[in-house]
């Protein structure tokens, strides 16, 4: 392959080292081992403000909201593989992720589509709302691609801080999701690289 694929993980949890981030890191670890370049963005560590629904959005070259959203979206739009992750809040994606999804509006209105050819959706909950949250993520990003892309779905249950790191079964599924993304990105399986 020419050049290594870029994988960008967008983490909608307010906790940079919480259960959602732990699971995402496990996915990224597998992708990095397979040769991908990985970036991890915790939305809550940046200044990202609400979309204000400007009527003139389509006419403006740039979104006038002076925050970090465009810089983050530049990375998202540069990705070959996109991971969208959120804890379940209110049986839905977190507000942090929703703020950023809404801010895709300017690119959407200007017909600027994602170039990622693989996506993964990751969510962690203490109980309910896992499928609803994955569905909300899928609906939220599906229209940003030029056509259908494979979306790897990964969900886990974690009741308190640190649970995910101690859940071998969940971590194994996270690594499997990472390998599946790597395969879809055309990367060779980890074990076969040395003998290539």
């Amino acid at each position: 392959m020419s050049g290594t694929p870029l994988v960008v993980a967008l983490i909608g949890s307010p906790r940079p080292q919480g259960n959602t981030a732990t699971v995402v890191d496990e996915v990224l670890g597998e992708l990095a081992a397979a040769g991908a370049t990985c970036e991890r963005i915790v939305i809550a560590e940046h200044d990202v403000r609400f979309c204000l629904g400007h009527d003139e959005c389509e006419e403006w070259d740039e979104c006038p909201i002076p925050d970090d959203a465009e810089a983050i979206l530049d990375r998202v739009w540069a990705a070959d593989g996109l991971i969208v992750a959120s804890p379940v809040y209110g049986d839905n994606v977190s507000a942090q992720l929703k703020v950023l999804l809404d801010r895709c509006c300017h690119r959407h209105n200007h017909g600027v589509l994602l170039r990622a050819r693989v996506a993964a959706l990751v969510t962690v909950s203490w109980g309910t709302g896992l499928d609803e949250t994955l569905d909300a993520m899928e609906r939220g990003i599906a229209g940003r691609f030029p056509g259908p892309v494979p979306m790897v779905r990964l969900k886990g249950v974690a009741t308190s801080m640190g649970d995910a790191a101690a859940d071998d079964e969940l971590l194994a599924r996270a690594r499997a999701a990472g390998r599946e993304m790597a395969r879809l990105l055309g990367l060779r399986p980890v074990g076969s690289r040395a003998s290539r």
Binding site: G18, D91, N92, A95, K98, L101, E132, G140
Partner: protein, 189 residues
């Protein structure tokens, strides 16, 4: 007007960033109907308040007040005192707006302190230019289910409006909004 003390209070929580947008116009129509039928009404445009996303503090249930210190506390106080609750949002990417989502997430402080909504009627409204009405109303319904104990009457409406302010001239939409208000009034009064 002479019985203002006895009138049920209906609070509308509006997740649109546009004070005069379609969602807001339709909320006004629903509230006018409620008022006409004897309710007292309060309209909260979330964009007029500072409500940040929840920060997921581990210690939430031990804290007497949310440490964020923004406007969430007083907005929630108004909402939890309501006899009738109207939740209205534009559809943004097949879901509630981020403004509405931040409001929803901040209710976790209430849950952590065993405080639940107890309105006698709930109205849900979603307004879209294209798609996503059912998914957005379902997201609002999930919030109501998480925030309330037991069954309560829920009325909902979805509307299509593709340009700013179009709802103001849409007889059918305005009539659906008034019906939402009338249905809520029927359950409250």
């Amino acid at each position: 007007m002479s019985q203002s003390i006895d009138r049920p209070m209906v609070v509308a929580v509006v997740g649109s960033p546009r004070p005069k947008g379609n969602t807001s116009i339709l909320v006004d129509a629903a509230l006018a109907e409620l008022e006409q039928r004897g309710a007292a009404v309060t309209k909260l445009m979330l964009c007029d308040y500072r409500i940040s996303p929840c920060l997921g503090h581990d210690t939430c249930s031990d804290l007497e007040r949310c440490p964020q210190g923004d406007d969430a506390e007083r907005v929630l106080a108004t909402v939890y005192a309501a006899d009738g609750l109207l939740l209205a949002t534009p559809v943004y990417y097949e879901d509630v707006s981020a403004q509405m989502k931040a409001f929803i997430d901040r209710n976790v402080f209430q849950y952590a302190h065993d405080i639940f909504l107890s309105p006698k009627a709930v109205g849900l409204m979603a307004v879209t230019a294209e798609t996503g009405l059912d998914d957005t109303l379902a997201a609002l319904r999930r919030f109501v289910a998480l925030s309330t104990e037991g069954d309560l009457p829920i009325f909902s409406m979805g509307g299509f409006a593709d340009t700013a302010g179009a709802a103001a001239a849409d007889v059918e939409l305005l009539s659906a909004a008034r019906k939402l208000g009338a249905d809520m009034a029927g359950a409250l009064l």
